[in-house]
């Protein structure tokens, strides 16, 4: 099975050749806070086959509508608009903090809160987007909110649209790096580390297949690093 192969592949947790991947905070003992800030932001370049695959689907057309859930960055805005597309920007993490508190200390299973969050972050007409850059946003969500968000994404992305999502591959970690993703080229990302965060849940491949089970297809990309790339077709 693919998931078994991936599991064995990710088991090693190798480092990036362009620079050491920042190690998470010590995991033994007390749980880390939900989010910590680094004393100094670190960044590194990373080859991304998932990004390459995403652009393979959208670069042959122009005038598409792309949603970026990572907030506005100069690099992403320039890259997407230079391809001739219209870019929508949503700062998913910022809206999460506004809705559920900085440490996500407000119940993410509250239906009213979930609805409010969806209105703030994903209030778009059905089939509005041709593609979504999710990055690692889904890692911040607890199961009830995650289910609501994936349902909403399925509605607002047109059929045959594509989404790119990242998941940390080591599901034994309690804290993982918090990144912003900046597009450098069709297959290169700059990852800027913003701190550490404790995901409500970490995903193995079987979890991901289940999470996106209602979508048309899910494609995993093997990496030698600690991020798992997923292309989802709606």
């Amino acid at each position: 099975m693919l998931s078994d192969r991936l599991k064995s592949f990710f088991g090693g947790g190798t480092r990036s050749p362009t620079g050491p991947l920042p190690q998470p905070a010590p995991l033994g003992g007390a749980r880390p806070p939900a989010r910590t800030q680094p004393s100094q932001k670190e960044s590194r370049l990373r080859t991304s086959r998932g990004l390459e695959e995403f652009f393979h689907h959208i670069r042959e057309q122009s005038g598409l509508t792309i949603l970026d859930l990572g907030g506005a960055s100069q690099e992403n805005v320039s890259f997407i608009t230079n391809l001739g597309h219209r870019l929508y920007s949503e700062d998913f993490l910022h809206i999460m903090e506004e809705t559920f508190g900085l440490d996500n200390n407000v119940d993410q299973s509250n239906p009213g809160r979930i609805e409010y969050f969806l209105q703030q972050a994903l209030d778009y007409p059905e089939g509005h987007f041709d593609g979504v850059l999710i990055w690692d946003s889904l890692e911040y969500l607890t199961p009830p909110l995650l289910a609501a968000v994936t349902d909403r994404l399925r509605k607002i992305v047109r059929p045959d649209g594509y989404m790119l999502a990242f998941f940390h591959s080591d599901d034994k970690q309690e804290a993982v790096p918090l990144y912003t993703f900046r597009i450098q080229s069709v297959n290169t990302l700059e990852l800027v580390r913003q701190g550490m965060h404790r995901p409500p849940q970490l995903f193995n491949n079987r979890n991901l297949e289940k999470l996106f089970g209602r979508f048309d297809s899910v494609k995993f990309f093997l990496t030698r690093e600690q991020l798992r790339e997923v292309i989802v077709k709606t």
Binding site: G71, N82, L83, G84, R86, Y88, S89, D91
Partner: protein
């Protein structure tokens, strides 16, 4: 043209902002200082200057209505309505808060805008600025730390300049988003 303070008893005289302020209040003020007003009824302001300087709306000023500026404009106060400076630069200062539709040649945001923005030449969203709305511009600069929620359409400068002013015509001419940067890679 704009004074730091204006007496509460004469808010009616605000509408023609080119009217010089009372000499006794700001005899040594430069011409382009802000006029501090509050509780101004909805109205229309037109700013014109043969000198071509920058008009300033100070942080203690709240304006509800329409502003048409024929010179560069710096807004550091509260503003609701519409702002047009079609051939000039509009700067929203760090204390500025706009709930407005904005059209200008160039827009620089250091404060807050809630509303759609058209910047024919260039748009800058500086660090700590906050913009919620849709942007149409030829070029855009977004600094790290800025918050933006909305859509970005990059339009050719010549398209932006020749775009018809009436909204109805604009809507008819561009029923779908204008493709960005035709001279760039596809």
């Amino acid at each position: 043209m704009w004074n730091k303070r204006r007496d509460e008893e004469q808010p009616q005289s605000f509408s023609p902002p080119v009217t010089p302020a009372p000499q006794a209040q700001a005899p040594t003020q430069p011409k382009k200082e802000a006029t501090a007003v509050s509780g101004i009824p909805v109205g229309r302001m037109e700013m014109d200057s043969k000198v071509g300087g920058t008009a300033t709306i100070g942080k203690a000023v709240k304006i509800v209505g329409q502003i048409h500026s024929k010179e560069d404009l710096f807004v550091d106060g509260d503003l609701e309505g519409t702002v047009e400076a079609l051939e000039h630069k509009l700067t929203i200062g760090p204390n500025g808060t706009l709930h407005a539709t904005v059209k200008a040649r160039e827009v620089v945001v250091l404060g807050t805008i809630q509303g759609n923005v058209e910047a024919a030449d260039k748009m800058e969203i500086r660090k700590d600025a906050r913009l919620v709305g849709d942007i149409r511009t030829a070029r855009i600069v977004i600094e790290d730390g800025a918050y933006f929620k909305g859509s970005i359409d990059i339009v050719k400068p010549e398209i932006a300049k020749s775009a018809p002013k009436p909204q109805a015509q604009a809507a008819a001419a561009a029923p779908t988003p204008v493709a960005a940067g035709a001279d760039t890679k596809r």
